[in-house]
């Protein structure tokens, strides 16, 4: 006990250099654990976004790309699916349910998605949870819209507010002749749905009926005129579907991929997600590797600090020797010192990480749609902190061995 107390007091007496070293280790540990937190957070966030959907169907493209634009609203579709093809697929006996998705327009930076009413019943996230309304209800009227929690929060919308959809994703032309009305606001899901403006599939057709080649035509149609017309779309962006029996998934997938009328692609979301992880895995490993190197650098800095202080502390070691401490005790004391510094650094790093999480979480969520769960440090953090502290002790072995040699040579007298 007295040795531990002395080690702590000794460190405290050098609090400026020790403090800087502890802080350097803390930053590196916070970075290292933070990278891991974001990495796993991103993975669960992605994996949680879609559940219960057996196949996603779109125009022929890459599997990852189809997944990204249809589910995560990242990137754009290169092509659409013809409405006829969609109906043919929907009519197949294996299909239990199918929900069309039509993307392409936006509202003040949020994507507008046209879909059917069944979307609200079929969409599942985070292990089978359904969408729930915080306020209002689903799509009743042609020009009704349901908005995600972030849309409502960021733009301050309430039930009944008008919404004007912009044409395309970044344009100044607006469908201002046919305004929508906020009919429902969804509860926060932590998925891209939060950042989506949902309208009926027919509404997407309705606002585009009098448009040609991306511009408003010379003789526009009024909202009431449009209501009387046939609003079946020509094409949609993608479709999510569920099959009656899991056994049929692969056959249906193959059939869709060999669809005669137009080139289509059907993907299993889980498989596409795995492909995505393989692609980003390299970058992730690089990131983890770099942050691990930062930790190693901080620990080496600690060893350098202890080394630099050794000469001034020869007198201290001589005192220990004179009262009967074996040279091994000197070795142990210096390793203990390194362990304590590493431990303090790791714990402070953990505190910094959580402080950072609390502060940055809303911002990360808003900017990247990445919902980082604020979970208590678990086995993962504990084991890495253990590894870092042990590594600190190991690195401390080098100055400790030098101190051991010095104290053997010096004995009780210091030649200086």
């Amino acid at each position: 006990m007295i040795l531990l107390r002395l080690a702590i007091r000794s460190l405290f007496s050098r609090r400026f250099t020790v403090g800087l070293t502890v802080f350097a280790i803390a930053l590196s540990v916070a970075l290292f654990l933070g990278v891991e937190k974001v990495r796993t957070g991103a993975r669960t966030s992605f994996a949680d976004t879609i559940s219960g959907t057996d196949l996603i169907v779109g125009a022929r493209t890459g599997g990852v790309q189809l997944l990204l634009y249809s589910v995560f609203r990242i990137g754009n579709a290169t092509n659409n699916i013809g409405w006829d093809s969609y109906q043919q697929i929907a009519a197949r006996p294996e299909v239990d349910w199918i929900v069309p998705i039509s993307l392409g327009d936006s509202h003040r930076g949020f994507r507008v998605m046209g879909t059917s009413a069944e979307y609200f019943a079929r969409y599942r996230y985070r292990g089978g949870r359904s969408l729930e309304f915080a306020k209002g209800a689903g799509l009743e009227d042609l020009f009704d819209t349901v908005i995600g929690a972030d849309v409502a929060r960021d733009l301050g919308y309430r039930i009944g507010d008008p919404i004007v959809v912009s044409h395309g994703l970044a344009s100044f032309t607006e469908h201002d002749d046919k305004p929508f009305r906020v009919a429902g606001i969804l509860q926060k899901t932590g998925t891209p749905v939060d950042r989506t403006v949902i309208v009926g599939l027919e509404a997407i057709s309705a606002i585009h009926l009098d448009w040609k080649n991306g511009a408003r035509s010379a003789n526009p149609l009024s909202a009431d005129e449009v209501r009387a017309m046939d609003l079946a779309p020509d094409s949609i962006t993608a479709a999510m579907l569920g099959v009656k029996s899991r056994m049929q998934v692969f056959r249906l997938q193959r059939d869709i991929n060999e669809f005669g009328a137009e080139p289509l692609l059907a993907i299993l979301p889980g498989v596409a997600l795995q492909e995505l992880w393989q692609i980003v895995g390299v970058a992730e490993s690089a990131l983890v590797g770099v942050s691990a190197m930062v930790v190693a650098t901080a620990l080496l800095g600690m060893a350098a600090m202890i080394f630099a202080g050794l000469n001034e502390r020869r007198r201290e070691m001589a005192i220990f020797r004179s009262v009967g401490a074996r040279p091994g005790v000197i070795l142990g004391m210096l390793m203990l010192e390194a362990l304590l510094i590493a431990l303090a650094g790791a714990l402070l790093g953990l505190a910094l990480l959580y402080l950072g999480l609390v502060v940055a979480r809303p911002w990360v969520d808003a900017a990247f749609g990445l919902y980082l769960p604020l979970t208590a440090p678990g086995r993962f953090e504990a084991s890495w902190i253990g590894v870092i502290v042990l590594a600190g002790g190991l690195v401390g072995l080098f100055p400790a061995i030098r101190a051991y040699r010095m104290s053997l040579a010096d004995g009780m007298t210091v030649r200086n």
């Binding site: 107390r5 007091r9 405290f12 005192i319 009262v323 009967g324 009780m412």
Partner: protein, 238 residues
Amino acid sequence: MTASETGTENAIYMSGVEFAWSGTPRFQMSIAELAVPSGQTVFLLGESGSGKSTLLSLICGINQPSDGWIEVAGQDIVIMKGAARDRFRAEQIGVIFQMFNLLPYATALDNILLPLRFAPERRRRCPDGRGEALRLAEALGLPTALVERTQAAALSTGQQQRVAVARALIGQPQIIIADEPTSALDANAQTAFLDLLFEQVHQMGATLLLVSHDIRLAERFDRRLDIQDIAVVRRDTT
């Protein structure tokens, strides 16, 4: 010739000791014979560079002779293994240096208690280490509050030396070795310091070996020795 053969019991006995320091400059020392009788106070006169530090290191078992006989408290310390020698030193010897005696960051109390950590026997002799440390400090004129709370670095030189004495005495080791303990003190403080040291050493019945270059301190000791009569030192600077 062993302690029993000399007739009187010796706390420290050296004979035919040869020591060589292999570093630069090369340094060699021969000690024909040195006897410090048990329970006596012995003054050893030695200028700096006379080899007194080396002599003390040999007695404490921190440096090892290449040849000869060193007996401390009736035991041959030359044949002991390193760890056993460290343990033996912790148990039998209390050391006081001239300066920088204490761990500057530790409280005076922790400084006094430190030897007990390495000496189970001394710890057994004072089960209430803290109480004993405070009693010793009190006897040496150090107030309890000061000892408990003050870092050694914040004490005056005189206070530091008294803390060092308390540390050397705690748990009643048989031998107290002091290396120029008064050189940092002024004349009045030297006398007061030696009074306190002698009082405690006599109370314990311990053996005191004090090394100093200052012959004026020698009067009150039982025996006075000159290191020049005991040790021959050779230095090669090449």
